[in-house]
Symmetry: C2
Subunit: 191 residues, 2 copies
């Protein structure tokens, strides 16, 4: 479990044993049961999440309807906007499956950054990578039709389609569950 985190970090910086120990002492690992809510709309939090095993999702509650906009699976993180802009959260974050995640706080980060400056540089790299990736994701979403988005997801993250409920996947693709159902029927007919 710790090793999974070390391996991830090692893609960006080299960790000394000393640093690994400090990281372990932070005791950031926790489990989340399926359906457990990690962050609620309206709350302010300093906590960031990182998925070691499992899947968590971001969703909005609009007119009593859940609108899922993001899924985070193994080695993907969620930094709620409220951590950055200090405003009440606009969305919920909850576990899609029983999951193992890390929970970090801004304070914890600050402490790490002071002791080990290279952690801050790692965070910069990760942010920049994610920013570029999210730019491409948004672009793709704008350019593709709903059906093309589904086909693209089928290629890029086939696992998601298996492990996530269809109605959550639908809003993730920007359509209604009925539309997604029809899309799937349409695509099956073609083959």
């Amino acid at each position: 479990m710790q090793q999974v985190l070390f391996d991830y970090i090692s893609k960006y910086i080299d960790l000394t044993e000393d640093e690994k120990n400090v990281l372990v002492d932070l005791d950031v690992f926790r489990t989340a049961k399926k359906g457990e809510i990690l962050l609620r709309e309206g709350e302010k939090t300093n906590n960031t999440f990182f998925v070691i095993k499992g899947c968590i999702r971001t969703y909005y509650l609009i007119d009593g309807e859940e609108k899922t906009t993001a899924f985070s699976t193994e080695l993907e993180g969620v930094t709620p906007h409220c951590v950055i802009d200090k405003s009440p959260s606009r969305y919920y974050v909850s576990a899609v499956e029983d999951s193992i995640i890390t929970v970090g706080s801004s304070d914890m980060e600050e402490e790490m950054f002071e002791r080990f400056p290279k952690f801050e540089i790692m965070c910069k790299k990760v942010s920049e990578e994610l920013l570029a990736k999210r730019h491409l994701d948004l672009d793709e979403f704008k350019i593709l039709s709903p059906e093309q988005r589904y086909l693209s997801l089928l290629e890029k993250r086939p696992d998601l389609i298996q492990r996530v409920p269809q109605h959550q996947l639908a809003s993730f693709l920007g359509v209604t569950p009925q539309s997604l159902s029809r899309m799937r029927a349409r695509i099956n007919k073609k083959n």
Copy 2:
């Protein structure tokens, strides 16, 4: 012009005169004529752009059609994905109007970071802010209908609707120019 950049930076870190001088010596300012292409699809670049005055856009060329996905105006930057992932650019970047921009390279950044580490911390902050913002933008795009997206843009960036050609705005909103035209007609009729 330099002052505009200093003011922006001062939102994140305090600059000494010394640092300001180094920044000026980097000679990052340049102008871009309307329509000028700053980055082409397929190219690899280390250059990042930041708009002091004017407007630049990101667009894809798909089946001979330009699909605009982003506009950057005063105090907004563009870090092409190729700077981050070292792959050929998937998109074009060009000036919508005659503009004043800064052009920075990775090398230039590295040098600055070594001399003034706090610049790197600033970049981390900016990335994190943009990342949170882009997450919200993508969420909004998924949740809203095309017409709602247009109305939202009308509220949040009314200037864009004035200064940018309609057909570019259309793909930015994820619809065809004809659809945008109809949407506008529909909305006008209601009022």
